[in-house]
Symmetry: D3
Subunit: 245 residues, 6 copies
């Protein structure tokens, strides 16, 4: 099946080209513009020197990490109105930013951040499928850059990072498991999975969904295997981006 | 490991007691109060004789199905303020109602509903863990009762139902995979999974999440196996509730 | 006029059948599902161990009691969208919950609650007229159960309850004063009155309204007399429900 | 008891001085500034040449009348933040504007307005008790002025007004029934009643409320008798204001 | 060009008639109803004995002054829905209230107010062009009355007022610079300017805008010269109103 | 005075370095990232093939152009919460987007766009003063790129652009008129002016504001002269960016 060539020339288990443009937002503690195929997401990490009220009330020590996700209105082929113009956060955005938060929290030891709130913002500049996986993958780079800076500024003595985290989508399109779906593939997919893993090969989050369809245990196994290989490639690219600073 | 006895007396792969009180809300087309251990969710299906505007604009035929999920303020040990008092839908509720919608849509052929909107409402009366899986499992019963009624009223000629759908949670607590977590187990779990499957043994949705933790492929396999067995028991209980009418 | 038989078989001064299903929401301090004809309302009382900020600022001692009222979306024959989907509380709900709050506050000595907030929640499961009077009548039962529990738990040494409170609607339909209107009678009524009274035969609240109509002093007297008799029956039913625990 | 002199020099059944300054808002179809003691309310009626969507959908003919009530931020001794700064309509305002709407609708034959919406706006410039009764009493004057104008402009051939409508508050303060409470009396009252009546001596709305207190049937009778006398005086003052144009 | 006679009989550099009705809202610390041609704006100043949180946090001493602007729904020929009915502040209102705030802050030494918040409220009763300049001009009168009162009450020892502030609009209509545009002139203007100046002849704010048009440096000079003359007349009228008390 | 050297090495009438990165958001019809000193704003133009409802109702022909402005949360040194998290648009953002809209509308003949809505979005990536002037200056580049594309796609036969539009800030700091203020200069300025001009040397918008200060006619003249020179340099840079495509 590996011989199948996708509309954009990729093989079934090939990622779209990946590029990081670090420091896109220099006032953030760390930031990167992840370009993954035609998908582009600004990932920025800012640090607040306080923790949410519930942590104080419940006397939880250490820091907190929260994430926000938004699609810029010009990120889609048809303009997407801003949340504020409708007065409420889009349900899909809410779901995605909760996923980003859980995924990145699994990458850090919050205790080591001290009484700080780490804010991860992901703003989609162009959406061609896989914006949530791009957001997670880019957010880890932005966070790593922020940690470097905090250490350089002597605000942290040791890194709170546990292991690199990356995410990829996999889907079943016309019966084939495809890695890293672009938008047209995503629309055609009968099953859609998002996989978040770390550098130790462990799962952080696994979400498989058959919108108006179902999938078998064999398909699940194939999707996971395909995704795991993709994650390995992503971790390499991430590391290069972080090292380059 | 099957010898391990949980705090509430259950074995690791045993469901909490399940009971359905149908027609709890008689003005709905179909409704049931699912009582699953101490968790209680009102599931009600209402039918609107129209479809959302986007379907008309995009000339999509058939019907639509949408879901809403809410926790009643007295469903938790500490009172939970209503969404309206904060002016916005809770992020968790938004995520759960999207999951319910996808899960139940996978159970039906929307085309066969004709130009109608099927509204699935799930209101939690008591929350002791597993409210989203109770909502999905109960919603399918409520939907089945609604379909019976529509057929009896000659509004439908054949059933749009494809296969029964049920959902269960599984988690890893102190290294053990446990079926159907109650609240205290849920809080202690390092990995939390929700599994939605149909009567054909196919997956509809699989969400595994290691909040501030990770899981291995072996653990994933054990979680899935444990969950599948639970789903089988649920489908039997659902069928009994639907037959009883 | 007492010979007149209403569409549902009742005489003009007869209540619809009344039933209380206590402890419908066991995590509340007290709760009951009041079924009054086809009208069904979940009444639940929860206790917060703090008082509103304005009481602290104004140095008011004792407790506070507040009420919220909501119609579940499947409580009406045509689905009623949730308040949160419109982003604001319905004007009618706002008016009703203020009435419930005033009525139940008149039943208690707030000073004796200590620095606590008593939250009364009324959620309509089925609406066939008289939901506000059912909410008040049920709320007093739920509150009584909550007080019993607080006394049993030694959180209160004596009961803050002053006298039982019940409410009933009365209306003029085709020139006749009818007790306890169902929905179709309510729609047909030219005058609509809600009466809240206590076990001492005193008035707590009296609201008579001639929507696009008027009423005379003689009609007012007849409405009050009819209502008072209904209240007496309600107080008996309430007492039975409270005693049964 | 009539010998009792109130703090402001009035007898128990005496109204505060009443004055109407018509045409305060000349772009409205009709408007008046009612000054009633220290209470001042701008009442303005505007006409829209269309009806609400629900009337079209339900094929209801004739016109509609709706009311809005708001307290200007400088109307109280302590500045009251605008509703918009809190993002939602105050519960009390919502309740009052519903009362104004019902009361004024009872004064007109909506059918005769043709397919128009009559908007009654009441903005409180100074609040010294009785703002809702001032709003209703002033609104009827503003409406009468608007009807005169519509007839003069040949937009209406005959008046849709049925009978004059006025409203007054009555309360029990230190055991005495007092007519037309000012703010300090309102705060001290154990029972508070609002009475809306028409020129035919009929009741339109009667709301008696014992906030944290109760009242007997004898007290109710006294309150009503006191209020009825006040209404008669109000109707005379209204008529003078309308005639003066 | 001075011979040109405008539709309402004025010369090009003539203001509309101006009148102040002080103490329109007696519970405010200072208030006036400015009537300027057919434009009418209620300007009221209230004082809160506290400062905004940001001042405390940033340890800024002295007082603060903030402004709010709103159009009453019956101030326009076609009824304007209230902000609260749309759930958000109108963009134009937001812009105007920021302008009023800046303009009036330039008239005072905030330090001398002590730790107080001065709230300037401007509510438009009738809108015939120039409502923002009327709001500023009237607000200064209301503020002066409030300062007089605070001094009389010994709450202030010396006046925090620096210099009188007034505002006027100027526009280019059919090539001519016209002072103080009424609504129909405003609609016809290709260039619209608002000028805020003080009694020392200094500029506080200058906003010139060519909506879908442009203007030259020569036109700018003429607009400013015309406006300056108007400001002089306004300052005289203001002073008379303040003196009269 | 021209010898004065500013903190960042510039002379008093020197712009900060300017750079345009076109096509930053390729799904927009036209887009550019304007980098002006440390200020960075994403400007994107999207086209909707419809016009607002009010244009249809008022039968206005041609197109419409609207603008939105937002600061990304990581654009400031201290994280700025998103508008949606507070539920309402920031007053300053509202004012700025209205200015952008007016300025860009003055640059086009809307009639020639046909029945389309041109949406101009400006999102600030980094804020170091002058974000509104950067937004206007960048928006004109993005619009020019969009017009080129529409002509290339034969959707427009001729350009609706009338003249290039650019904007710059000028301020008085320690008595000196400075061109193009950075953030620290902006904070220190006693007078702040924004100037929007076109390639014909005409004014489109002029806003001078002395927050808690004033300015004289001589200072106004100096500010305008300084600004005009800056605009000329900006127009050259813009043209180069547009030509490069």
């Amino acid at each position: 099946m590996a011989d199948f060539i996708r509309a954009d020339g990729r093989s079934v288990n090939q990622l779209r080209p990946l590029r990081f443009q670090n420091h896109i937002a220099p006032y953030a503690a760390g930031s990167t513009l992840i370009e993954w195929g035609k998908t582009r997401v600004i990932c920025a990490v800012t640090i607040e020197e306080s923790v949410p009220r519930w942590m104080k009330e419940q006397k939880v020590t250490g820091g907190w990490l929260t994430a926000e996700y938004s699609m810029l209105p010009y990120s889609t082929l048809e303009r997407k109105p801003r949340d504020i113009s409708k007065g409420k956060l889009d349900g899909r955005s809410s779901e995605i930013q909760r996923l980003i938060g859980r995924s990145i929290r699994a990458a850090v030891n919050l205790e080591k951040f001290g009484p700080r709130t780490v804010c991860v913002d992901c703003d989609v500049l162009q959406a061609d499928g896989g914006t949530r996986t791009a957001a997670i993958t880019g957010a880890f780079v932005a966070l790593s850059l922020a940690v470097k800076k905090l250490i350089a500024e002597k605000k942290l003595v040791e890194s709170p990072l546990l292991a690199s985290v990356a995410a990829v989508s996999i889907g079943i399109v016309e019966g084939r498991a495809l890695l890293d779906l672009c938008y047209t593939e995503d629309v055609a997919a009968t099953v859609d999975m998002n996989l978040v893993m770390n550098a130790a090969g462990e799962f952080i989050e696994l979400q498989g969904s058959g919108e108006e369809a179902t999938f078998t245990e064999a398909q699940l196994a194939e999707l996971i295997a395909t995704g795991k290989a993709g994650i390995r490639d992503l971790l390499v690219a991430q590391q290069a981006a972080i090292t380059q600073g």
